[in-house]
């Protein structure tokens, strides 16, 4: 009996801890008289002027526990939301003494929540299930929740030329010319009869765009490119599937670009990126 009671108490503690760890949803105030609304009106004056009748929802939460609340704002308007009118532009403003209010998060978002843990830095945000952690001066997406990294294999030297074709005639010459160009591939990572190919090397990668990436789909006896892009690091595959093809995630300078199948090839589905710094 005593042990059963202890077990029940332990279960209660565990569930309470789990409840504490769960992200807390943010309750927005749609009132035009809300105190934070005046600041939003100033920071986004031009944006609001361009959207007559926009409904601005605000919330004030002290995410960094410095005694000054951060302002969360949602703009509900046909010019601010997706067709569902639930995923709308959402921003987080942080006050800095000498710089005033700065935008530290700016993304189309439907569900806004935050984790209550606070270890000397602003609490992580959970936006549509994706965690955003505090970087140097802004919230940055945690790419681990976007998808799994593609498992690449090195292309055998005997097959290099056949893969290099996907990157153009210039790439073929560099691959054959001893410029240290390497190719990696992954079969069926995004769908049946597909290849994800990455080209790496000092002369073929750039500091603006990263390294070239191609996704090829089998078309009869040949392979045709269905995505030509680049990545500055991670190349991942999402659980989301469209038309039999998984979404593909490419790392950009500010975060990630998510590509989805559009029926004929891949195109940008969304960007999950931090706000650009000064």
């Amino acid at each position: 009996m005593k042990s059963a009671a202890l077990l029940a108490f332990a279960t209660l503690l565990a569930s309470s801890a789990a409840a504490l760890a769960a992200p807390a949803p943010v309750a927005f105030d749609p009132s035009p008289d809300a105190a934070a609304r005046r600041i939003v009106n100033v920071v986004f004056a031009e944006y609001l002027q361009q959207r007559v009748g926009v409904n601005v929802e605000t919330a004030v939460i002290d995410l960094d526990s410095d005694g000054t609340g951060e302002i969360l704002a949602r703009f509900v308007h046909t010019g601010s939301c997706l067709a569902d009118m639930k995923t709308c532009r959402t921003v987080v403003l942080e006050h800095r003494n000498r710089q005033g209010w700065k935008i530290v998060y700016d993304q189309p978002t439907a569900a806004v929540a935050f984790e209550k843990e606070n270890q000397g830095v602003p609490s992580p945000l959970v936006m549509d299930g994706l965690t955003w952690k505090w970087g140097a001066s802004r919230y940055e997406p945690d790419g681990n929740t976007l998808g799994k990294d593609v498992a690449f294999s090195d292309v055998p030297s005997a097959s290099v030329d056949s893969y290099a074709v996907a990157f153009g005639e210039g790439a073929r010459k560099l691959a054959a010319g001893g410029y240290g160009v390497k190719f990696r591939y992954s079969g069926d990572a995004v769908g049946k009869d597909t290849l994800v190919v990455s080209m790496n090397g000092k002369v073929v990668c750039g500091d603006v765009t990263g390294c070239p990436v191609r996704i090829l789909a089998k078309d009869g006896k040949t392979w045709k490119p269905v995505l030509s892009t680049s990545s500055k690091g991670r190349i991942a595959v999402s659980d989301t599937v469209r038309g039999g093809y998984h979404d593909v995630v490419m790392q950009t300078g500010l975060g990630y670009a998510v590509y989805g199948w559009n029926g004929n090839g891949y195109s940008i589905a969304k960007r999950v990126e931090a706000v650009k710094g000064e």
Partner: protein
């Protein structure tokens, strides 16, 4: 000791600059590399730049040197900046019309900005050649669509056709100008006037003045002046006075300037109160400085003659 070392070093640098010619010295090369880094923000060393240029040569991308990317004339340094920004093979695809394949937002603008910033920097000590490039920035849209040209903004066949067309047009104009029927009038055409007041150039006097005032050129017009001179001269010179009178008469013989009966043309009344309060600070006879410039100016005390003499005594100034 330090001074003498500096004295040797400076002439050496000057000499290196002076005798550099087409092959820049290492000092110049260091400066141009520093300029490349500063202007583009690309932190590349000499070997990286050489490798990028070598890869461009291997692909044949160097054929685009001298070509146009939008409004930017490509040179060696701009190509290197592009290659280091997006990769050499991707730059080759871009200039070949394949577009820019990138997931990065604003990559086109950033690359274009770097290429524009790099253009004109002489990296010939690394590349072996220098082509003066630069110009206005190309649009991002044209860059993303891969619009480019290897030999210039215009295809050679089109340029040749345009040049031929232009030359033919010029020849037609010259032929027309030299023809007796439509071209420049000749003195000989004016020499057989009958019934006119004169002949040759002298007879142009009246017409010349009239047409010059009207902005017309009597020396080049269809049809030839010779066939029209007599009739124009007889009619125009005789009629000009009456025409002038008719034009002047259309305004009522000058009554238009007599506005007193309509209230007059008085600025202070016509243009409102802004002109009513005309200040009295107008210098003139009967007004003292205080009235004209205010009391502060009027309170100025003139120095006495003795004070002026003492001030002007140069011996007092330098003793």
């Amino acid at each position: 000791m330090r001074l003498s070392a500096r004295m040797i070093a400076i002439p050496a640098l000057v000499a290196a600059t002076f005798f550099a010619g087409t092959a820049p010295s290492s000092a110049e090369g260091t400066l141009s590399l520093a300029a490349f880094r500063r202007e583009t923000g690309i932190n590349a060393d000499a070997s990286t730049i050489q490798q990028a240029w070598s890869s461009l040569q291997a692909m044949g991308t160097t054929k685009y040197v001298g070509g146009m990317l939008g409004g930017l004339k490509l040179d060696e340094s701009s190509l290197i900046a592009g290659a280091l920004s997006i990769g050499a093979s991707e730059l080759d695809n871009l200039l070949g019309g394949g577009g820019l394949a990138s997931s990065v937002t604003g990559a086109g603008s950033e690359v274009l900005g770097r290429m524009t910033s790099a253009s004109g920097i002489n990296l010939s000590y690394l590349t072996g050649s220098f082509t003066a490039g630069g110009g206005g920035a190309a649009s991002t849209s044209s860059m993303l669509s891969g619009a480019s040209s290897g030999t210039g903004a215009c295809d050679t066949s089109v340029a040749s056709a345009l040049a031929s067309g232009g030359q033919a047009h010029v020849e037609k104009i010259v032929n027309a100008a030299m023809s007796g029927e439509y071209g420049f009038s000749k003195i000989s055409d004016l020499s057989n006037n009958s019934g006119g007041g004169g002949s040759g150039f002298a007879s142009l006097g009246c017409l010349d003045k009239l047409f010059q005032n009207a902005g017309s050129d009597i020396m080049f017009k269809p049809p030839s002046l010779g066939s029209l001179t007599n009739s124009l001269q007889n009619w125009v010179c005789g009629q000009s006075k009456s025409v002038s009178e008719q034009v002047a008469g259309a305004f009522g013989g000058g009554e238009i300037f007599q506005t007193a009966s309509l209230g007059g043309f008085f600025p202070s009344k016509t243009f409102g109160e802004a002109n009513d309060g005309n200040p009295s600070k107008a210098p003139g006879i009967g007004q003292d400085p205080a009235t004209t410039f205010g009391g502060a100016f009027a309170a100025f005390d003139s120095p006495s003659q003795d004070q002026i003499s003492k001030s002007a005594n140069i011996m007092n100034l330098y003793k």
